[in-house]
Symmetry: C2
Subunit: 98 residues, 2 copies
DNA sequence: TGAGGTCATAGCAAAAATGTTATATAATAA
DNA sequence: TTATTATATAACATTTTTGCTATGACCTCA
């Protein structure tokens, strides 16, 4: 049992995690979505890397927001964390103020 | 006025487009999400390319599902189509059948 | 103190995405 | 028919992501 694993037990009880590449600026929202997905799976970077058939350092780079991953990579993450990848283009803010 | 533009007028009236990289297999869902986003903006591949600072052929390649775009590219598409990019890892199917 | 475990970073080579030019096809309008 | 417009494809150079091998920092626990 390790830190992330403990977080897991705690989070899985009441966490509605639906992190998204949404609000923030520089793509760091995606990074936190990755971290949450991994935490929800209760695994380490090492284990996630194993499931994605890559290395721990690659996972750290992704979570650190130091790359702009392709959908290929995002799909691997989804599979490895037991989640479903969803990418959408949603209608934007209001056009004119009332 | 061109074909897509006409589609636009038609769609914008009643289309709740929220295409997603969701159900299907080979990443073609993303492709159709792209097409819908562009159609909702009522522009041609050529115009989308101009807004993304790339070329029409690159857009065609994306919409044809012949690449796995990075979040960098997805962001460009969102900005160019006036939409908001949303990427999320959602909880998966049921674990055990009752 | 030291060992073990987790995560972050740097640097490099290989792979994939991207930008670009040049066509080709299809549909429409004149 | 011809001209024009929109989209699809191929081929290639450039850029970015990705995989990999260290290595260092930070904990916790014995």
């Amino acid at each position: 049992m390790t830190r992330v694993n403990e977080l897991h037990t705690q989070w899985m009880q009441d966490l509605e995690y639906q992190a998204a590449y949404d609000k923030p600026e520089g793509g760091f929202a995606l990074a936190s979505a990755l971290i949450e997905a991994r935490a929800s799976a209760g695994i380490t970077q090492e284990e996630l890397a194993r499931r994605m058939e890559t290395t721990q350092s690659a996972v750290a780079r992704l979570e650190g927001g130091r790359s702009q991953p392709s959908t290929r990579t995002l799909e691997k993450i989804a599979k490895a964390t037991g989640t479903r990848l969803k990418i959408s283009f949603e209608p934007n803010k209001l056009l004119k103020a009332p």
